[in-house]
Subunit: 259 residues, 2 copies
């Protein structure tokens, strides 16, 4: 379904600009998806895309052909309008408008030998995106995002994730609920802490496991630290690793043990 | 040595503002160091600091006491001047001015069982900083930075590294020179490539080794790919990892094998 070229006065266009703000996203339960790669991954993973806005010059792209039969409104816009709605955020000529997927713990998949990544209190969209990208590469069962201090629907999360936002199963929940859920499902919890005795390489991630990492500054909250704690060795002069680096190191060690 | 409060008209202050630009840094062979932590690490690692500029209110800090006997000029500035020279870059009340350390291959340390990280063509200061931070944590012998497309003295590199810029031995060189140097020194080279057959976990990093990773987009150049190549498994829908995540995964696997 193709519409005529839309102008900045158009109500839909004005709303797209608003949706760069969290308050508007929260109220409308909508999200923006910047760029062709992210849009493809969203479609591949059955995200409900309402519209795709594109620069006129991109009118003959493969992406647009592939939307056939999907009831997605295709809306060409002028370059001026596009730069307004992309906020410098779009890597190419496409921006999608989609319903926010629901990220409930109840819907989290539970295969036989699950491996979950738990991330508590994450503050920076870029870090959350990087964590998702590593979670996708390592093939984790899902990400339990606990007490998040960043809006998971922030377009910068999706961009930094390279689209892994759509491929990694996510539960947006609290630490309390996640701990209960993991224990109810007999998942062994390993919490990362610089104060642990056990090296992460000596932990056994081969059974159903969850690996928990804490926020950029404070680390994990007390309830997590009552579980088995593991540490990444720090051989240098700096006393901490970036939270996304820590996540990568831990989940790839789990993958190594499972290869 | 304490000076009187400096104003924005002061030539030194004007020059500090200029030093946020690469061209001025290159010409003067100077660099800026933002924040107390980075300054402490610089001093600990014998970087030649010429001056420390600080907000008047920070006049009684421990940091300033510790500079005693080091021939560092201590220069209080007004809040206005400080915000001008910090460019929003300083995490606290201190900015240092230092000579650029020399990062030559000739000075790279060569202990018996060395493990080097090689990073080629890195573009983003944030990625280079993150790589340095992981290199510090993993205790690598040194970073061989080849054909860098970012200025290593960029204050954003130092900030993202959390000061690991000062703790990790660095050689700023070309791929050609690094390859010759590594071979001359009998270092086994492993180059990361998505097209490798060998999993990185099956490579033997226990002997003198170098692990090479490529730029954000293109990966490693052809001469590196003539060496033994290893891959990180990609289990998901996204076909690449961030370069700093890849570096972390690889060098922590080397550390695991060496524990």
């Amino acid at each position: 379904m193709r519409s005529r070229i839309a102008s900045l006065q158009n109500l839909t266009i004005k709303n797209l600009v608003k949706l760069r703000r969290r308050s508007a996203r929260d109220r409308q339960k909508l999200m923006l998806i910047d760029g062709e790669r992210a849009l493809r991954l969203a479609m591949l993973n059955n995200v409900k895309i309402e519209s795709i806005f594109f620069k006129e010059e991109a009118g003959s792209s493969d992406l647009l052909e592939e939307t056939a039969g999907k009831k997605i409104l295709l809306q060409p816009v002028s370059n001026d309008v596009f730069s307004k709605i992309s906020y410098g955020g779009s890597p190419d000529h496409f921006i999608g408008l989609a319903s926010q997927p629901e990220f409930s713990l109840q819907n989290m998949s539970q295969p036989e030998n699950a491996i979950y990544l738990v991330a508590e209190g994450i503050e920076k969209p870029g870090n959350l995106g990087a964590i998702l990208r590593s979670a996708d590469a390592a093939g984790v069962t899902g990400l339990l995002l606990c007490n998040s201090r960043t809006d998971i629907y922030n377009p910068n999360v999706i961009r930094a994730s390279r689209g892994a936002f759509f491929s990694v199963p996510i539960a947006d929940t609290t630490s309390e609920a996640a701990l209960i859920w993991l224990k109810d499902n007999d998942i062994h919890i390993y919490a990362a802490s610089p104060y642990a005795e056990l090296l992460y390489t000596k932990a056994d991630f081969t059974g159903p496991s969850a690996i928990a990492i804490g926020a950029e500054h404070e680390g994990l909250s007390a309830p997590w630290l009552k579980e088995d704690i593991v540490k990444i060795p720090m051989k240098g002069q700096i006393d901490s690793l970036n939270v996304a680096q820590s996540a990568s190191i831990l989940i790839f060690e789990a993958l190594r043990q499972r290869l």
